[in-house]
């Protein structure tokens, strides 16, 4: 089983932590969101051999998150994905699709404050279009 290492950090520390991983030669693994109340919790994972560490931080609606894709190019996929599913805004993504990466029929379906997502959860007709 993988080690379960979670570091709770503030958003302002994010970039310096990521730079640290980059300098120590760690590999970018994952970036994803999940909802905590009205906020989105970002989880960013890095690995080196059998070590695996996860950074987690809370992002409020409308808050800008610095993009890590200038450091880890493959992160552009995940930044665009998180933007489309959670509505988290990233600043400086290298290939920015500006919210058109996953053209979902419901805008930001996983955002905790999304009206459509709430309707979907209750089993009501999802307002489309």
């Amino acid at each position: 089983m993988d080690p379960q290492v979670y570091k709770n950090i503030e958003l302002v520390q994010f970039m310096s932590e990521v730079t640290g991983y980059k300098e120590r030669g760690w590999r970018f693994v994952n970036l994803c969101g999940s909802s905590v109340g009205d906020q989105v919790e970002l989880l960013c994972s890095f690995a080196l051999d059998n070590q695996l560490e996860n950074l987690s931080m809370l992002v409020s609606n409308g808050e800008q998150v610095p993009a890590i894709s200038p450091l880890y190019p493959s992160a552009f996929f995940f930044e665009n994905e998180t933007r489309d599913l959670f509505g988290v805004q990233f600043e400086g993504t290298i290939i920015d699709f500006a919210g058109r990466f996953y053209p979902t029929s419901v805008p930001t379906p996983m955002n905790p404050t999304s009206v459509e997502a709430e309707a979907w959860g209750k089993g009501e007709e999802v307002p489309r279009g």
Partner: protein, 362 residues
Amino acid sequence: MADRTVIPFGPQHPVLPEPVHLDLVIEDEKVIEAIPQVGFIHRGLEKLVEKRDYKSFVYITERICGICAFGHSLGYSETIEALMAVEVPPRALFLRVIWHELSRIHSHLLWMGCLADGFGYENLFMQCWRLRERVLDIFERTTGGRVIFSAVNVGGVNHDISNEDLRGIVTILEDMKDEYQVLLKTFLLDKSVLSRLKGVGVLTKEKAVEYGVVGPFVRASGIPDDIRNFGYGGYGYLEDFEPVVSDDCDGHARCMVRAREVLQSIDIIKEMVSKIPDGEIMTKVKGSPADGSKAVSRLEQPRGESFYYAKGNGTKFLERFRIRTPTSINIPGMVFALQGCDLADVPLNILTIDPCISCTER
């Protein structure tokens, strides 16, 4: 400067079994930029955790992708076991490894066939798929399904395989091995295969590290990255594990790595069958994941490392389940590897990373 043209590639394209769209910005015959457009298969499965309890969601995870079906249900189960601290009986761990390695054989043979089809070697395609049917027969006999088998659940496995059947599997694989050697020889030595794949889609070691690619893609660039190496789950019982690596960094190297992994998987299955203990196959799991509990786990799938993350909220429905599939991290690598290649090599470049789009988009 030559004129720039944009060539749309996909979503429907003869070499693509699945829809993905690429805008290829080309100058003369050289690709200078490839921009992916995904979302054609996005269904929103991760959000279904809110509607299915954690035990029945395992059947949804299998339907994330029909090729990696077993791997995803295994990865999900391992994550929930980590979340709830469930101890899995050893026999179940062994059976999981056996099925997982069989899936790897079937997935690699499928890919080798698709690759052969991609460069127009129809005969080789048919031979690979003919051989693959033997593995599917094993699946059908042991689980009842050909591609989606509902064999794993949280706490263990749903079906047992009798020791007699296990020995039968080894006999079938031994038979297969002889026929497979002929295919292997073609893939490794045939002139037409070599001339089509050698030097195509080079991704150097440094670039592979920079883009963080995984699976056979990175192993073909000389980096021995393989989650099986860490001995998680049933892989801890293996005597010795050595990842298959190639230093050539091109399309042929990726083909070679996968071709050799088939033989390696056969050896792993043989070793597991010779060591498998008797006993229970399922631990009863009671209760729900605690509020705020988190778990991550990684698994080496046929296409590379996949990453799972689950978060509980005290009910039997998970708060969040996330899958980072191997293709989603390989696509950025592929996009960068496509820069500077010939237009005619684009389909092969895409095929050699073995993209699995429905995994990626869920």
